[in-house]
Amino acid sequence: MKVLVAVKRVVDFNVKVRVKADGSGVETANVKMSMNPFDEIALEEAVRLKEAGAASEIVAVSCGVAACQETLRTALAIGADRAILVQTDAELQPLAVAKLLKSIALKEAPRLVIMGKQAIDDDSNQTGQMLAALLGWSQATFASKVKMDKDSAEVTREVDGGLDTISVRLPAVVTTDLRLNEPRYVTLPNIMKAKKKPFETLTPEALGVDVKPRLATLKVVEPAKRKAGIKVADARALVDKLRNEAKVI
């Protein structure tokens, strides 16, 4: 069984992003970039499926600028067998990414696509659902447990009211939540080995996909800052403030 994993290059989760002075976006020059954390979880899950004998090949795909190569090299070091970069300088929105991934999926014919539930830069939480829709495949979002069967997968999902379990027919798209697994660290020998793994570069044009954005960003601003309040000495002082100043109890 072939597994496709989508990995996005994003500003590292530890970076405190700053809005550009001209309001056109956030500062990404000279900022640490990493693989989207949810995609690390997606890749880890694929590698575990392979280790368990349930998957035969893992193909990692990233869409974006040339530097996404680094993200894909990391993916290869973690355990992907091959990498595909769909290279473009164009701004990519989730619908466009889903269309690119669809054309790759049709070529590669995986039984399973695993991706993150959410990219921590745009916070869209859309691409997996969109890809499943465009392919006419089943979807299992926000996964905290995946059990593979021959023609189906049983997926436990983190939902607002607790946990839901569904059974999806293969091929399917699964998106990961935080509790699915704990991703492993990349080791130096694996980074060396990754250099020899197959790496293919494509373009949206070659795939025949129109990636024109549907949303124009008019401006980006910093949210209103909350001002730090005061420290109080003890519980009694706190209750007094909550009652008489904030009037919240």
Partner: protein, 316 residues
């Protein structure tokens, strides 16, 4: 302009998130129809018809629409879409699951998690864990939108008298089957709509220790929440997680206990009206957003806080 709102409901009643979403629809302007898709959900459809400002309720009732199965509900939305300029759902786990699927089938780029409305095609949404607010303008013929419920004050659940129209559901796609649900039962108010929230973090040390927060939550009539670290450690269930990738809350009072205040946590609670932090580390970032902070050991402070609240109540 006519707007379709996907109701969040449990077949018997509509959840509050629906009321916030109708409020967002009112800001856009135009007729508002509410879609109640489920199984044996006539009671929920009736409740939706009472919501202030709703012109019509579409009631789709079929076994394959139960249990939030995205493939079937998305197909239903798509079958209705051509009559609408906007399709809205609350940014709940259900809305996030189903709406992007419908959007892609309509070849529309969804606008996720809007917090305000600048015009019929222009919306504001947080990005980068709420560290930036983007104003985006859609060029799609149908605007498919998920609504961050904390951004819009709920409309009244009563006062309306919309007509209920029964509509047919597309056949079961057969792609996904519901297997089971583990519901976290609780007597407490629901986390995203509670007036007060008491959240614990890694500093709680164990699931057992979360018990000391219960009398505090009781006194404050609060829901209970947690940081990711507390959920990952298995102290409390996943649906307690507040933050960028958990639930977004904005209660009147938020009490953070043993939570450092990572940016991802702040993203889920920094719009609360009053924030209280209890942490032994006076440098903890949570104090930068807290209105009132106490530096000290939570195991000592929380019980005395409960005692103080009791005493104050007796005085009243």
């Amino acid at each position: 302009m006519t707007i379709l709102v996907l109701a969040e409901h449990d077949n018997k009643s509509v959840r509050k998130a629906t009321l916030n979403t109708v409020a967002a629809a009112q800001k856009i302007g135009g007729g508002i129809h509410v879609l109640v898709a489920g199984h044996d959900c006539a009671a929920a459809a009736k409740a939706a018809a009472q919501i202030a400002g709703v012109a019509k309720v579409l009631h789709a009732d079929a076994p394959q629409l139960d249990d939030e199965i995205a493939e079937n509900v998305a197909a239903l939305i798509v079958s209705l879409a051509k009559g609408y300029t906007h399709i809205l759902a609350p940014a709940t786990s259900n809305g996030k699951n189903v709406l992007p699927r419908a959007a892609a089938l309509l070849d529309c780029q969804q606008i996720s998690d809007i917090v305000s409305i600048e015009g019929p095609d222009t919306f504001v949404r947080p990005i980068y864990a709420g560290n930036a607010l983007a104003t985006v303008k859609s060029s799609d013929p149908i605007r498919v939108i998920t609504v961050r419920t904390t951004g819009f004050d709920a409309v009244a659940a009563a006062g309306g008298s919309a007509a209920v129209e029964t509509i047919a559901a597309p056949a079961d796609s057969g792609l996904s089957k519901f297997v089971g649900r583990e519901v976290a039962r609780s007597e407490r108010p629901e986390l995203t709509s509670a007036r007060a929230v008491v959240s614990g973090g890694r500093g709680m040390g164990s699931g057992e220790n979360f018990k000391i927060l219960e009398p505090l939550a009781d006194r404050l009539k609060a829901a209970m929440g947690a940081s990711r670290a507390a959920v990952d450690a298995g102290f409390v269930p996943n649906d307690w997680q507040v933050g960028q990738t958990g639930k977004i809350v904005a209660p009147e009072l938020y009490v953070a206990v043993g939570i450092s205040g990572a940016i991802q946590h702040l993203a889920g609670m920094k719009d609360s009206r009053v924030i209280v932090a209890i942490n032994k580390d006076e440098e903890a970032p949570i104090f930068q957003v807290a209105d009132y902070g106490i530096v000290g050991d939570l195991f000592q402070i929380v019980p005395t806080l409960v005692e103080e609240l009791k005493e104050q109540e007796l005085k009243k």
